[in-house]
Symmetry: C2
Subunit: 306 residues, 2 copies
């Protein structure tokens, strides 16, 4: 895995370079909200969603980075706004994220709310910057006439009430309830976490010219990765090593939280992660050749120990 880790490091830098070129300048009477937005984006993380987008774009033959970079930045802005608003006192009230003070702690909850709004809005402003590089791309087929508009459609629908926001709502609604069904839990996993992963992969694919058939395989890969990621989270909360994870284990049990593990048991949970991972792997092989890094990245995402 050492070769993978080196490659991952290089790819993280590459993605950050592309994303950072779209960050707004901290100037004008609105300087403060822009500072808060950039502070939130610069908090780090592995840029996994933009990376998945870029890798699927390349896997399917995309070469011109100008086409994909605005959408990569847009995706990271949407992911970031969701964290900023999640951390607010009105939501999870978290003071730290990745070892750094959260946005509302540094800038106050009012400015943090506005920074989240600014990021979500600027995501769409940024994605629109891809238009000059997309407009001369050929039409794909009757179903996907304009790949630029279709990519915008995926971005907005997977981020909203039929995607991430929908999953966040269902998650809030489940707090403190013991009667959660496996169907409801699947909805939360698939939307709260899965939707942006699906969208990232799909946008990369659409902009490189993938057809509907490949697109639905890729959507399935993203869905599997998102769900497996969440089940692994639940597993680690029971069996993880605190010193590796960096947070206390057993919090789900303490909070009497219904998880995949409490609903189906540990053994079935591990098997489900394996099944989802295997299925994703076999779909990925059908989608495109020469996918070694992407395949390892997905494996890394799912089978992590922290």
């Amino acid at each position: 895995m050492s070769e993978f880790n080196d490659t991952l490091k290089t790819k993280v830098s590459e993605c950050e370079g592309l994303i950072n070129s779209f960050l707004p300048k901290e100037e004008g009477y609105q300087k403060k909200v822009i500072e808060a937005m950039n502070y939130s984006i610069m908090a780090g993380g592995k840029r996994l969603r933009p990376m998945l987008m870029l890798e699927f774009y390349r896997l399917l033959g995309g070469r011109d980075e100008k086409v994909i970079a605005p959408f990569m930045a847009a995706m990271e802005m949407i992911h970031t706004y969701s964290l900023v608003h999640d951390d607010l006192p009105a939501m999870d009230n978290d003071e730290y994220r990745r070892g750094r003070k959260t946005t509302h702690i540094v800038y106050g909850p009012g400015m943090a709310t506005l920074a989240g709004d600014g990021l979500l809005n600027y995501a769409f402003e940024t994605a629109l910057k891809a238009y000059p590089y997309c407009k001369n791309l050929p039409e794909l087929d009757d179903e996907i006439e304009d790949r630029f508009v279709y990519a915008l459609h995926i971005l907005s629908s997977k981020a909203g009430i039929y995607g991430m926001v929908g999953g966040q709502c269902a998650d809030i609604e489940c707090e403190g309830r013991q009667d959660i069904t496996s169907h409801e839990l699947l909805f939360i996993h698939e939307n709260k976490t899965g939707a942006l992963i699906e969208a990232s992969m799909m946008i990369g694919a659409v902009l490189s010219g993938a057809d509907k058939e490949k697109l639905s395989m890729i959507e399935k890969i993203g869905s599997n990765v998102g769900i497996a990621f969440q089940i692994q989270d639940d597993i680690l909360d029971v069996e993880g090593d605190e010193s590796v994870i960096g947070k206390p284990v057993g919090s789900d049990e303490k909070n009497e939280k219904v998880t995949y593990v409490t609903l189906h048991g540990m053994e079935a949970s591990k098997q489900e992660v394996k099944r989802l991972s295997k299925e994703a792997e076999s779909l990925l092989e059908k989608v495109g050749e020469d996918n070694k890094f992407l395949s390892e990245l997905i494996e890394y995402l799912i089978s992590r120990n922290k």
Copy 2:
């Protein structure tokens, strides 16, 4: 003005009919956030921004409502999300708006934050629904190649950090300060209030096929209306009739708030409203004929007594 009031009433109903057809269904595990979104939209108001959009679209020859309706709904969603987040405890902490409990009072601040996010995101999802009706419209000129993409660009840029969000930030930054310059105050008026009014007028114009020259006249009309609207607000806070306005006057003085009136005096403020109004009127005549209702609507917006 009785004829105008009758027409206004009819137009409000027309706009509401078009907007409501785009509201999401209250179903699924994400039902609660959709309820909170729709509660916020249904809180009423005169739908002035969508109305301005529709009227400019028609003034410049637009006929197909399918082209404009998704953008009208999108604009109202953006306006509404800004009110929902503004009312939050972390911002203005308002319990009532237009005589109804605010969204965070009914659904809690977490769900209200999410409802605002849902509305902003759904605004872009909704605007994209205009694509099938826009895609066969002819190219305008070298500058506005694709009027649909250009309308999306106006929507996102006027709503974000270089528009409304920027104005909100500057407004927050001015709280409690006595050293605010007239330049800074103009920035707040133009962006916090003016930007969505400008955007509404401009999107109506672009989608009907207006050229860049007309578009910049219309942007100026919107800017004048937004600024005059705000100055009138400051005037009414000093000279208004409490029983007509429905809220106490003198709050700016009590809060030692810097306003156009405190910076320039009452007489100059009234003259500036007149000047802005006159200039808007004369630009409107250049933009298009047969604009009686639109002209009265702008006059109504500016010279209101509440």
